[in-house]
Symmetry: C2
Subunit: 384 residues, 2 copies
């Protein structure tokens, strides 16, 4: 039996429409979607536009042009942070941020004098927005927060932080890498300046595509991270200042975009709340099963209503890398050990530097698979 | 009949191995290539490594790690320019550069006080390296040059400019968007600090993948444009400083990488000189045929030994956008009109702001197609 429990890294199985969209584009079109030109190039442009529309609808945007495509959410976060933060600005972040936020901020600290502070976050991932309010300084310009931890799934109070940001005229940047496709996300309700997303996790698109949704007034103030040919206003040596071209230079990842578009259209036709009920049921079952064993330490909320289907654990006296190896080689269960590119999250959880083993449920995980995983853990515990 | 003459924008037809590699990765692996973990994740990493090795071999690099993947060559050029140029630096560029070079430099001029000068380039695309030498200033730090014009195919003397850069301790950044896969390119012989490449044109990979090859000592001095999770040294909040991780953050475009890897392996097993002879033969035939008509102005070298298979033209009294439309709708010939994201190249050619119609030959263009294109131009000219 092969059980894929690494959905927090990427979703392995996708709906059939995803590969069909990729294959159809490749075999029937495969032209560069420039503006104007011949009909097949226009068809390429039309397919990219359809994907953009699906995403705009999915996140409830006012304008399709507010969707910007990037290689991945890391690049999207870099654009938001580096495009908006200036010398001497102060930023608040949660204690569960990924290195996709912490490393750009560390670089901005070094090269642009930007300082950042971590809002107190307890080992189970709880963060009180009132604490964030107390930390505001005259030079605070932005709050950056992940919607859910990529290590142990804890959901963070992004709506409350968004309100706080709105009340204090701060930029609010949300990382939905772990929640887009899991929970309904409404861009307007989040009060987000920039909502960053990854295409290949719970949104079920292919790897190599992500992006962000941006408020139009924020986009006007945000500088692009890279400039180049956009197929628009080609007479100008300056980057265009309209969306999405301002932030989309060079040839797009058309296969990634049409694949993601098909995936998001598929998800948009489902009721995310029903998918979430399924995920919560499996999460509860897995959590309950694992917590039976005194030798297993489970981290995070340990409550399916307060987290995604991502679970962090350690077994006493077993190194998590070794545990990952055993699960893979002996039982065919795919998991991820270590620090998951989130050292500050592990510091918050008290699992730094040894890390944890991460199991992450996805849309295609079944109850039988959870039963099997629990049976394997039983055998491992009994064998210690 | 359908004739694709827009290979300078992207190659539409690719060898079968490209889609096979994409499909095989998607259907058999589709895991995130992290370091370590379970065997399918390792397999994903192995396939990415194979692609990197094929590219390193293709450009004759010393180390596989000198190959860095980006979404496209525009991002690669932005990394090279913004990662190396500092306040007050001066840069020399050719008169044929694409906006992928000119727009980042225009932004650097505005925000970092970087100045740039254009090496005199005549309307046929000739540039004398001796002129570049005369333009060197104490603050000159870099020469950036496209290997061939994306508008009318003129080849530029990159080896001589590379020597000049080496002799004067300047960075040399080469844009091979139009030549990689067309001419043999040896990284060492070019004296390039950074060789940027696009995957989806004559290298025959899919859209959404490009990158650069970089000298190790240059990479040490070059700052990344974006930082984030790399799957390496995850205990650190600083970006790793080793190749390729320093410049590759977030999830890679795995489908793009394996597709490009298969394409480059395929090309590496061919003799590029033989492919070039085929391209030159077709280019000469097309040039000779077009030059018969006094109403057609052909731009650029008009000599197949001095250019790629990209040809720029205008027909008297016919707008190039209209000509493109007629060729597509009446004859099924796909071309690209306008300015091709290269306003300074058009200024050099004397075709700004009206632009030209561009026909671009690729690896899969046949002699019959060229005959057909010429027959169609004959009919258009006769109908005027």
């Amino acid at each position: 039996m092969q059980v894929y429990m690494d959905n927090a890294a990427t979703s392995r199985q996708k709906p059939d429409v995803v590969f069909k969209a990729i294959e159809s584009f490749y075999k029937e079109v495969n032209c560069n979607p420039g503006r104007g030109g011949y009909s097949l190039s226009l068809e390429a442009g039309r397919r990219v536009m359809e994907a953009r529309e699906s995403i705009a609808k999915f996140f409830n945007l006012k304008q399709t042009s507010q969707v910007v495509f990037t290689q991945n959410i890391t690049v999207a976060l870099n654009i938001a942070l580096k495009g908006l933060l200036q010398e001497g600005d102060h930023v608040l972040i949660s204690g569960l941020e990924h290195n996709a936020v912490v490393r750009p901020l560390t670089a901005l600290k070094k090269y642009r004098g930007v300082e950042f502070s971590i809002i107190p976050t307890d080992p189970r991932g709880r963060l009180d927005p009132a604490d964030a309010q107390k930390m505001l300084k005259p030079n605070t310009k932005m709050i950056v927060c992940t919607h859910a931890s990529n290590v142990m799934g804890a959901l963070l109070p992004v709506e409350e932080l968004g309100l706080l940001a709105a009340e204090n005229d701060l930029y609010f940047v949300v990382d939905t890498a772990q929640t887009a496709g899991v929970l309904p996300i409404d861009f307007e309700k989040l009060h987000a300046s920039v909502l960053t997303f990854t295409g290949h996790k719970h949104l079920l698109g292919p790897m190599g595509i992500g992006g962000f949704c941006v408020k139009e007034d924020v986009a006007r103030k945000m500088l692009p991270l890279y400039e180049g040919g956009t197929g628009s206003v080609s007479d100008r040596e300056e980057q265009p200042d309209f969306l999405p071209d301002k932030f989309e230079s060079g040839t797009l990842n058309t296969l990634g975009i049409v694949g993601l578009g098909a995936a998001v259209k598929y998800l948009g036709e489902k009721d995310l709340n029903i998918l979430r009920v399924h995920e919560q049921k499996l999460t509860k079952k897995l959590l309950d099963g694992l917590k039976q064993y005194s030798k297993i330490s489970v981290y995070g909320p340990q409550d399916e209503t307060l987290q995604t289907g991502t679970i962090a654990l350690n077994i006493d006296e077993v190194d998590n890398a070794e545990l990952c190896f055993i699960l893979d080689q002996e039982f065919g269960i795919m998991t991820r050990p270590g620090l998951h590119c989130a050292p500050i999250a592990h510091k918050t959880m008290g699992t730094f530097p040894e890390g944890v083993l991460r199991l992450s449920i996805g849309h295609y995980t079944t109850e039988e698979e959870i039963d099997y995983v629990l049976e394997c853990f039983k055998r491992i515990i009994e064998a210690i």
